[in-house]
Symmetry: C2
């Protein structure tokens, strides 16, 4: 269909249903015993939340999770099923930060930010590490970009193992702050971020921005319709449930938003957690 050979790293099949368990596990298990016993706190629209909750449970420490009230039901349920203690906040950065700060002050728990954290970024990079072990001769590796943790870890791991590899980030047109930031060379403010890809509404931080500037070759954008049609195609042909955010990386290849012809392209399908009721399907591309 694309003229390329596509390989998929199925992080939708990862524990907790997304790559986030890699970074969360690395960060939670990197804490000293003294730090860990105070517990951890984080803010997340969903997948990092579930990942931190399970990583904390595995270490036997409490986890407080700040989630926006708009987070998908399935993601909130997952957090609770892993023993995470959920605090709801408004869907704004200010509201998230305030709730997080209040919890830290009250409990003394350590903040594990979803991407502004070197241990988290290192953990996320293990997906690319495994991917290149399985398929060493990839020409391109693609991940979605939101806060930039996965793309940062991927670019560090992939360019270290294979300097000639092209690292491409995939972003919804409706949440294109990484695209604009890399284009202008400075951190641009968030877009309105009204996208079906609920995991991709965060914005870069100075740490991830500096990594992406140095190591990412390109950010490509897709429309909402292209995200949904790619997701549907993955469901129908791969028989894999991939969430909208996870399908964005496939969407830029399927819809040829960067040069794909004849290439061996590694696509990280970042997660598979969603509310099935919320998916307004459009038709798959012919």
């Amino acid at each position: 269909m694309t003229g390329a050979r596509l390989f998929f790293k199925c992080e939708n099949l990862q524990k907790t249903g997304s790559f986030k368990f890699r970074g969360a596990t690395n960060a939670v298990f990197s804490l000293s015993d003294d730090e860990a016993k105070r517990g951890v706190v984080t803010q997340s629209s969903g997948n990092h939340a579930g990942a931190i909750a399970l990583a904390a449970r595995r270490r036997g420490i409490p986890a407080w999770i700040v989630m926006p009230s708009t987070a998908p039901r399935a993601k909130r349920q997952a957090v609770e099923s892993y023993g995470g203690r959920v605090t709801e906040c408004e869907h704004t950065v200010a509201s998230r930060d305030a709730a997080c700060n209040a919890l830290q002050e009250k409990t003394g728990a350590i903040l594990i930010h979803p991407y502004n954290n070197a241990q988290v970024i290192a953990g996320q990079g293990t997906a690319a590490l495994e991917f290149l072990e399985d398929v060493p001769d990839l020409d391109v590796i693609v991940t979605p970009v939101s806060g930039g943790g996965l793309l940062s870890g991927t670019s560090i791991a992939a360019k270290s193992l294979r300097p000639q590899i092209r690292v491409v980030g995939a972003e919804p047109k409706n949440a294109d702050d990484a695209y604009r930031s890399l284009a202008s060379g400075k951190l641009e403010p968030a877009a309105k971020a009204e996208t079906i890809a609920d995991g991709l509404r965060a914005t870069l931080c100075p740490l991830t921005f500096s990594i992406l500037r140095e190591r990412v070759d390109e950010i490509a954008l897709v429309t909402e319709e292209e995200i949904l049609s790619a997701m549907r195609l993955l469901w129908e042909r791969l028989k894999l449930i991939v969430e909208p955010s996870g399908a964005v990386s496939a969407a830029i290849a399927i819809h040829k938003k960067f040069p794909v012809d004849g290439k061996r392209i590694g696509i990280i399908l970042s997660g598979g957690n969603l509310d099935l009721d919320q998916i307004p399907f459009v038709r798959a591309p012919k």
Copy 2:
């Protein structure tokens, strides 16, 4: 959730999206060159059709496929994409048989019946063979039952490798002819077969009935709602697209329609081909 340990054989990830490719391949490649060059013909609501079309293409011979006009769009498209030549018929056994006979007379092609065929049954049995190689100590193995080809092959392979294994068939309550036939000891006529499990509307034939009588321990029944809620659970938790017919075997375990507690249960998820537009989801069980 069930008190059992569940293992899944993911035939939704099989070539052509269902186990049917096993039997079709074995049957098509068992033909002599003289037989094969006349081509093959079959009748099927979908998955056997696609499987025969691809097996025939791999052998380089033509395939004529009789499909009811009610077959899912996705299944018909698959047949055509594999080069199968589709003839539409009414959704009755008589109409299917008539169309099939007419094609045989006209072309001289060999009929490969979807289950009344020893090579097909032998091929289907290879799923259980692989399953028991992967998980040798299963207490129970479950497959859906329609015409009985998969369950026949499964029961022969499984009981031969592991005589103490319990072989259970799963059938929609709305298409319960296998259940009634094993209960009465004679081939019972078809039910109305109004079930979302479009692949399970066929009825046993004397060959499959005789195998099931000898080797199957139990047939268990599930309602339409139980099929859909099990399917939804598979989508949400396994992140795997399983079609309604394929979810019936999981449904009898999830809804505990036979003794499951403490057992190691092998479930064959038979296929993953469906029209996404046609799925009226009910809520997953808590």
